[in-house]
Each structure stands twice: as C-alpha cells, then as structure tokens.
C-alpha cells in the first residue's frame, strides 16, 4: 500500500474521532470569536489614534482568530497523538506496515481539520460583520490558505510535544504558554504603536507577529510581499523544524525494529 493511502486512512480516522468530540471542536470555533467580540467592544477606540492603519477595528483584529485557531490545532493534534502513544494505539499502528511519518502526520490531521473548519467560519463571520479586504476576494482566499498552512505547521508543535513527552497533560500544559506568546505579539497593536520597549522587543522577534502581520496585510494595505513572504517563511520554518523534531523523537518513542 502506498504511503499516501496510509496517510489517507490514518488521517480519516483522526478527523472522524476529532469531530465526534464536540468538546474539541466547539471551543476552537467559539473562543476566538468571543475574544474578537470582547476586543472589538473594548479596544475599538484605538482606531482613532493618529496613523492607525484602519478605521474599522474588525479589519485589524479578525486575523487574530486564525492564529488562535491554529494554536488550538497545535494543542488538539498534540493531545490526540499523545493519547495514542499513552493508550498503545500508536503501537497498534506500528505493528502494521504503516510508515512512521504517515502515522505522525495522520495523527495530527484531526487537529488541523478543526483549524480548517474554524478558519472558514471566522472568514464567514468576518465577512458578515463587514470585514473589507484591500486585496479583494482573492486576498480572502489567500488568507484562508495561509491560515490552513499555519495550522498544519502548528500541528507540528503539538506533534513534537506529544512524541517528546508521551503525555496529553504535558501537551495541554503548554497551551497557556502559547497564548502568552500570542499576547506578546502584534495581536492587539501594530508594532509602531507598542510603547513599552521590552514588549516591543519581544513582539518584534515573536514569530507569531510575522504570521499576524502577513495575514493582516491581506486585509489592510493590499498586496505586499514584504509582509506576506515572511509569514509564509515563518510557517514553513515552524513546520519543518517541528515535524523533523517529532519524527526524530518518534524513533526513540516507538522503537520498532
């Protein structure tokens, strides 16, 4: 059987079991939208600051939903894979001719699929509430594609944590850290508007800022390779580093001869 068929079978199982657990799906949809609503109510006045790039706060804030969705994907993918390792399901798969990478990538498909589902909903809600894309409909589609790509990359973070620790609880323990990292980015303000120097330095180096700015550029400002390409590069780097790390750890975790 081809690797692609193995990946398809393992992914299908991961997606089925994920969507059969509403507790995994509902928060991914609701949480980013609730945070968006709260921020829109409380922070809308920042648009009145001189030089703020848009006068509609939702145009500025909508992309944060996609990054949050991707973070949820990371944690869900990681928790699911760690549960498989803990329960012995990973051993069950290891006893079949399935290739290691197919087991790894397939197990994260469920988490990634929630982010895909979420991204479509965030986009639809955004459009309903009047988000205007300076890059038009094509830009909206590129945003969706970038969000899904980011989610797949972040699933690698979860996968690596899962394989390295073998514990769903350990993976979930990292979730708050990832959220702190999100808050220390350009999530709520453009970099130039961040006054505190330490905050600004962190936000400047924070990989999440590049992702947010790249996505945000598609909504506000129009086509700009200088923001879009770094976002793609950051997502690609995260994907390669984390999946390579996960594959390495998996060789130690499942010592199949």
């Amino acid at each position: 059987m081809s690797s692609a068929s193995q990946l398809a079978l393992i992914s299908r199982r991961s997606v089925s079991r994920t969507f059969r657990q509403p507790v995994l799906v509902v928060p991914v949809i609701l949480f980013p939208l609730i945070l968006l609503a709260v921020n829109a109510a409380g922070l809308a006045s920042v648009t009145e600051l001189p030089g703020f790039p848009t006068d509609r706060y939702i145009n500025f804030a909508i992309v944060v939903c996609f990054v949050q969705g991707a973070l949820f994907a990371a944690i869900t993918a990681g928790t699911e894979l760690a549960s498989d390792i803990q329960s012995g399901f990973a051993d069950r798969l290891a006893l079949t001719p399935a290739r290691r990478w197919a087991v790894l990538a397939g197990a994260t498909a469920g988490g990634a699929s929630i982010a895909v589902f979420g991204s479509v909903i965030y986009l639809a809600i955004g459009v309903i509430f009047g988000v205007q894309f300076d890059t038009g409909a094509l830009g909206a589609l590129v945003l969706l594609a970038l969000a899904i790509y980011t989610a797949l990359a972040f699933a690698g973070i979860g996968a690596w944590l899962a394989v390295a620790t073998g514990s769903p609880q350990a993976v979930q323990g990292v979730f708050p850290l990832l959220f702190v990292l999100l808050f220390l980015s350009t999530m709520n303000l453009p970099l130039d508007f961040i006054q505190k120097q330490w905050f600004r330095t962190i936000a400047e180096w924070n990989p999440l800022s590049y992702l947010i700015d790249g996505m945000r550029g598609l909504v506000i400002g129009g086509w700009d390779a200088a923001t879009l390409l770094p976002a793609i590069a950051v997502a690609t780097a995260i994907m390669f580093i984390t999946f390579a790390g996960a594959a390495r750890s998996l060789r130690r975790r499942v010592q199949r001869t």
Partner: protein, 323 residues
C-alpha cells in the same frame, strides 16, 4: 503461512536503565501450531518479552526468531506474519468496530472489498456482529478483547501474540476467548504465544508452559509434566479458631514441606502421599486442634511456581510469601 511458524529464543536479555533486567537470559522454543503459555506474576517480564518478540522493543542481547525471521534485524518480515493483541486493547473509543477493522485492514494492504468481507467474517466469528456499528467506547471489557482478537487476525497471521488476553474478563467471556484461541491453534495451525497470570488459563489452554519470575525462566514443560514433577498431593487445613493457626502449622509441619495456601489456611505437601490423611487427622485430634475445613489438592502450577521461586503466584502481589 510460513512453512515453519515457530518461535526460537536464545539467551534473550532486555535491560532497562543500568540494572533492571526485565528479561534475563531466557531460552525458549515454541513449536509451530503450539499454544505456549508464558506464566508469571505482575512485573515478571512477560510483557517485555512479548514487546521484543513483536518487534516493538529491541533486545539488549541475545537472539529471537519468529517464523524464521530475526526480531531485531527483520522487523517488517516479522510483523507481516504475526498478529498481536497487546495489554489494554488500545482501541479508539470514538470509532466503531467496523471502522477499526477497516483502518487496520487497509494498513495491512487489504483491498476495500477484501477488508469489508474479512472484517465482517471475523466480527461475526468473535460474536460482535450486532455491535459492529457502535462506537467502541460503549463496549464492555470482554467485547473490546474480542474485537482486539479479531483485529489481530485480519491479515491471517501465522503466529499470534496475546498479552494477558483475559485479564479482567468475566468467566463466560474468558471461556469464549479460550475456545477461539484453541480453535485457531487446532484448526488453522496458528502458533499462539500467550502471557497470563492466571494459573487456570495456562493449565487449560497451553500445550506447554514457561514460568517466568524476575526476568528468568524458572520452569518449562507441559502442565502435566510440570505438575508431575512436584509429585505429591498437598493437604490444606483451615483452623476453626484463627488463633490456632500456629499450632496447626506445627502439627502439619510433621507431615511435609509447606505448600501454597489461601490466607486463612495452612498447607503442606504430604511427604508420603494421600495415605497420610488419617495420620494427620489423628495428630490434629491428639493436639486438640479443631479444623473447620480439610482438603486434599493435586499439585497445581502454583505449586510448581512455589517450588521454583519460594513464593506463591496466587495472591495480591509477588512479594507475598507462602506460609
């Protein structure tokens, strides 16, 4: 099916960390089509042995072949001829029985039609037809074990590994599983390597039994031969008054070596056999020890275990000593 689907193990060792020798220099051989029972208490090294034989754990030293393939160097070949139901079943609570069969069959390279047909056939054989469309989360322990067995058989393995297959099952599910394992060996010629901590299971099901303790194989043979090696019947007595236990022990000690007994009782292996029963009763009467219960036992595998290790296998943990 491989022409020779036996198992050969030579001086196999698995060390964890620096000093835990989970499997310590074990030699054994399982003939094609045989049911081999690997018996031992919790933590004796049974699961470590199985993990090495199914290629999920590399041995530290020694050599093992399954159906002629080396477990350390020919992992893919070994996996293609074995089926395994490991401890805890490891099923996905959110998938149905049929979905499990489909996933695993697909990964073993069965075509869509083949896995549908083979899946349905096996599900029927293990008596799960009515539950096949339900999520496994709603299955009982026995149903999960049966599904696990069906999954292990999907690709028609020549050698089957069952790690504590009936642990936690009710007696009815246990005998149903025994019957299926027996049928696989007798009718299909499948070699079965089965670990268990249940004496009865090893006794009833296994053609040959290997007894493992602290990683070492302490005895091996057919259950009949192992018990015959012990030779003598044992006598188990329960004092009417629990305070008389020591007195009872002293009286019985005159008639033979201590044997495994339930916590409230005392047992000895009668040095001169069952004929001594009358003498024992007279001695108890003479010393004024009143007994509530008196039983003669033919030697059991637990007696074999006791003789080899100085401990009883029946009990809560492996540190329990036989009085």
């Amino acid at each position: 099916m491989a022409s020779d689907n036996g198992i050969e193990v030579e001086a196999l060792v698995r060390v964890f960390g620096d000093e835990i020798r989970a499997v310590d220099d074990v030699d054994l051989s399982v003939a094609p089509g045989e049911i081999y029972g690997f018996l031992g208490p919790n933590g004796a090294g049974k699961s470590t042995m199985v993990l090495m034989l199914v290629t999920l754990l590399p041995p530290t030293a020694g050599r093992a072949t399954v159906a002629g393939f080396d477990v350390a160097r020919q992992g893919p070949q070994v996996r293609s001829v074995i089926g395994a139901a490991l401890q805890e079943s490891a099923l996905d609570d959110f998938l149905t029985g049929t979905e499990h069969m489909d996933l695993q069959g697909g990964l073993h390279g069965l075509s869509r039609n083949e896995r549908r047909r083979r899946g349905a056939e096996l599900i029927e054989r293990v008596g799960l037809s009515d539950a096949a469309g339900r999520k496994v989360g709603g299955y009982s322990g026995g149903m999960k074990r049966r599904l696990d067995l069906a999954l292990a058989l999907l690709h028609r393995p020549a050698v089957l590994f069952l790690d504590e297959p009936t642990s936690g099952l009710d007696p009815q599910s246990r005998s149903a599983l025994w019957a299926e394992v027996e049928r696989l060996s007798r009718e299909d010629g499948v070699t079965v390597f089965l670990t268990t901590q249940y004496l009865e299971e090893a006794d009833v099901l296994a053609d040959r039994v290997g007894i493992i303790d602290h990683g070492k194989l302490v005895a091996e043979g057919t259950p009949t031969a192992l018990k015959a090696g012990i030779g003598k019947v044992s006598l188990e007595a329960t004092p009417a008054n629990p305070n008389d236990r020591e007195k009872l022990t002293a009286v019985l000690a005159r008639f033979g070596e201590p044997a495994a007994a339930s916590p409230k009782s005392v047992a000895v292996r009668l040095a001169a056999g069952a004929e001594q029963l009358a003498d024992v009763v007279r001695a108890l009467d003479g010393d004024g020890v009143e007994v509530a219960d008196l039983q003669l036992h033919q030697p059991s595998l637990d007696d074999v275990f006791l003789q080899k290790t100085g401990r009883s296998l029946e009990g809560d943990d492996d540190s329990q000593s036989a009085a």
